[in-house]
């Protein structure tokens, strides 16, 4: 009942927004890129699309993907689809595709030779269901970064750490001068993501895949993962005075030197850029927490709902091509702090951190990310567990690991 009413209400609001006079080539694009760096990046996409003679109608939804996705899905299932929409590629839109609500882009992809230009290949695989391509990957976002404030460590009188273990060792010195060692915002996905990063860094890529890809519950209950939980225990102790909610507020603590560091994806880099900070001088980035230099190939992609309007369908094709255009790729990704999805573009303008990322990518040290491996249902349960773990010191490491193993046993 609640669901139906809500869907109706959402559809109604959406319909109101859409009721204005629409030229044939207006295409509404929904996304959840609303922080400073993200908004600057999406403006690049809009500019490139407008240059093709069409018009990008910006449908930004504030409040991170968790808030935005239900709204997008309601609009698509409720019969009021937008022209194009962002999702993280992987399994978020899986059922929408299976229900036949999304547009098959295989023709556009064959024409544009996507299989040749998109790298790593796993990106396009995540867009492919039953041999057909349903989305356009636009960037590679990896979670595996530790962002450190050089200023904070200078104030504490300790050298900037080179890996996670040194960071943990430096925490008491930071606390002594009133700096929160690790900033972890209150949103559930942040603590859950931080754990996944620790799993890949402390446990190693194999451990990560064994747990999330093979869903080996016995391994998840074993001693190797126990080591990771020990690290997560350190992390929650270091993060206990954070007191902010949003990830960009937490990043801001690092930018202003109120916190020593943050485990956050490379999108945090956009915030450092907007604040006018320079990589290497003002802040340091450690991919794979300095322990295991891998990059997860998560990221964003655009999906195109099936539309009846032929003009709009044409505009969708144009947008799909524009998104993968080399120039757009560079302009967008430089602002966003993410890595381009094609290997043949010129990224000399990239900063130190991005170059580190590109080097790892070139080496092929990549792992798939949880968005590609786990269903949203499992991810949500994981978020519940780790937000509780980070907020509640009474939840012991052993209990948490046991619950984690149970969760993996029933994961899909």
């Amino acid at each position: 009942m609640r669901y139906k009413l809500l869907t109706a209400a959402l559809a109604a609001t959406a319909a109101l927004q859409f009721a204005g006079p629409a030229a044939a080539t207006d295409l509404e694009v929904t996304h959840w890129w609303t922080s400073g760096g993200e908004a600057a990046a999406v403006a690049e996409l809009a500019k490139a699309f407008d240059a093709t003679g069409n018009h990008w109608v910006d449908g930004a939804i504030a409040g991170s993907g968790g808030t935005a996705r239900p709204i997008m899905i309601s609009r698509i299932t409720g019969g009021d689809p937008m022209g194009a929409t962002q999702f993280n590629h992987g399994r978020q839109a899986e059922e929408l595709v299976q229900a036949g609500l999304m547009r098959d882009l295989t023709d556009v992809a064959t024409k544009g030779k996507w299989t040749e230009i998109v790298r790593p290949k796993s990106l396009l695989d995540s867009c492919t269901i039953d041999g057909k391509i349903y989305c356009v990957p636009v960037n590679i976002h990896s979670w595996q970064w530790l962002w450190l404030s050089n200023e904070a460590f200078e104030k504490a009188g300790v050298p900037v750490p080179k890996n996670w273990n040194e960071f943990v060792a430096a925490a008491p010195a930071l606390e002594k001068v009133g700096i929160v060692p690790l900033a972890v915002g209150g949103q559930a996905w942040q603590s859950s993501g931080a754990f996944d990063v620790l799993l890949a860094a402390v446990g190693g890529s194999d451990a990560f895949l064994k747990v999330y890809k093979d869903k080996d519950a016995k391994f998840a209950a074993g001693p190797e993962v126990a080591k990771v939980f020990k690290a997560a225990d350190d992390a929650r102790k270091m993060a206990k005075n954070t007191n902010v909610q949003d990830w960009n507020q937490a990043t801001n603590m690092v930018i202003t030197g109120k916190a020593g560091g943050q485990i956050m994806g490379d999108w945090a880099q956009g915030e450092f850029q907007v604040a006018g900070k320079t990589a290497g001088k003002d802040y340091t980035c450690l991919p794979g927490l300095g322990l295991n230099e891998v990059i997860a190939t998560g990221g964003d992609a655009f999906y195109f709902p099936l539309l009846k309007d032929a003009d709009k369908a044409k505009a969708q094709e144009v947008l799909a091509e524009t998104l993968l255009d080399p120039k757009t790729q560079v302009a967008f990704n430089l602002k966003k702090g993410s890595l381009p999805v094609r290997g043949d573009v010129d990224v000399n303008a990239a900063n130190d951190c991005m170059k580190k990322g590109l080097a790892i990518l070139a080496k092929g040290a990549v792992i798939p990310w949880t968005d590609q491996l786990l269903s949203q249902d499992t991810q949500k349960q994981k978020e519940d567990l780790f937000s509780e773990f980070f907020a509640k010191p009474e939840l012991t490491v052993e209990d948490a690991q046991k619950r984690f193993a149970d969760l993996i046993a029933s994961a899909d």
Partner: protein, 295 residues
């Protein structure tokens, strides 16, 4: 011979019946139909889209071993007990005080009722700031010189639900006060006079004469408060979004999160069915006692 026939009872008050058709349809299709649909699909493994693939009671088994659901239920009970008791007691006390023929009654009534004009979202945000240790009450008291003063309920897992209850009481008691005041005004002056003649103290008059006479008002109030308790959602979202961790989660939020964020409709429907069941368990015996015995 122009004797009119007895009209068909179906067509008596035809206008009124026609006018109520939309509401009957809404109640029948949207409420009852939607409820049945939800209960039916709670026995399936529907994920993002509803599918009729029955899995028996699996969703319910999973629900009742999920720590977050158990915490939600516990929070709802605490929150419910607090709002029920305190909004009734404070609401009645305020009303009784206003009823003492004081000056500026209208002004006071407006002030007390004002918070009710705010939505739960606004209330939640206001109290989030007030209870924030770095900006709110704690900051002010420390600024006055009491350095060890600590009051940060929203950042402490074990008391966060009380922090939320404070905001709910602030918002809701004004309305309860107004309802109670209306009830008090409905009591005949003569009863007060009679009580005074008999030398009964004022508090006893309230407790043993006035309150029992206000039974209908209390029942209305109770229904309003109880429905507010079960559906609490927006206040929590605005104030803590369920945090710290999952310490202030409530059932309605579990339902929403699992339906939309987790893309698991079956689990969300199972949780909402449990919410419905709990309401039914409370309402049915009460309705039976209240309405059934009159016949």
């Amino acid at each position: 011979m122009s004797k009119s026939e007895r009209p068909n009872p179906l067509f008596r008050n035809l206008n009124a019946k026609v006018a109520s058709i939309p509401m009957i349809l809404t109640a029948g299709v949207v409420f009852v139909g939607g409820t049945l649909w939800t209960v039916l699909y709670s026995f399936t493994n529907s994920k993002l889209l509803p599918r009729l693939n029955f899995v028996g009671l699996d969703q319910y088994y999973r629900l009742w071993v999920t720590p977050r659901w158990l915490i939600s239920i516990e929070n709802l009970l605490i929150y419910g007990a607090i709002s029920l008791v305190f909004s009734l007691v404070i609401g009645f006390l305020l009303a009784a005080l206003l009823d003492q023929k004081i000056r500026f009654e209208d002004t006071f009534r407006t002030i007390f009722l004002y918070p009710f004009a705010l939505s739960f979202i606004v209330t939640g945000l206001v109290w989030q700031w007030l209870l924030n240790p770095d900006f709110g009450i704690q900051h002010v008291v420390r600024g006055l010189g009491w350095d060890s003063f600590s009051f940060d309920p929203l950042y402490n897992s074990s008391i966060v639900i009380y922090g939320i209850s404070i905001a709910a009481l602030w918002q809701g008691t004004g309305l309860i006060m107004c309802l109670m005041l209306a009830g008090l005004r409905g009591i005949d002056e003569d009863i007060w006079k009679a009580a005074r003649v008999d030398g009964i103290p004022m508090w006893k008059t309230y407790l043993f004469i006035v309150i029992p006479m206000m039974r209908p008002v209390f029942i209305t109030t109770l229904v309003i408060i109880a429905s507010g308790i079960v559906k609490v959602y927006d206040l929590v979202v605005a104030q803590t979004s369920g945090g710290p961790g999952i310490a202030s989660e409530v059932p309605a939020k579990y339902v929403y999160d699992y339906m939309f964020f987790a893309q698991n409709l079956g689990q969300g429907f199972a949780a909402s069915t449990m919410m419905l069941l709990s309401v039914v368990i409370v309402i049915v015996p009460w309705a039976y006692l209240e309405f059934g015995r009159r016949k």
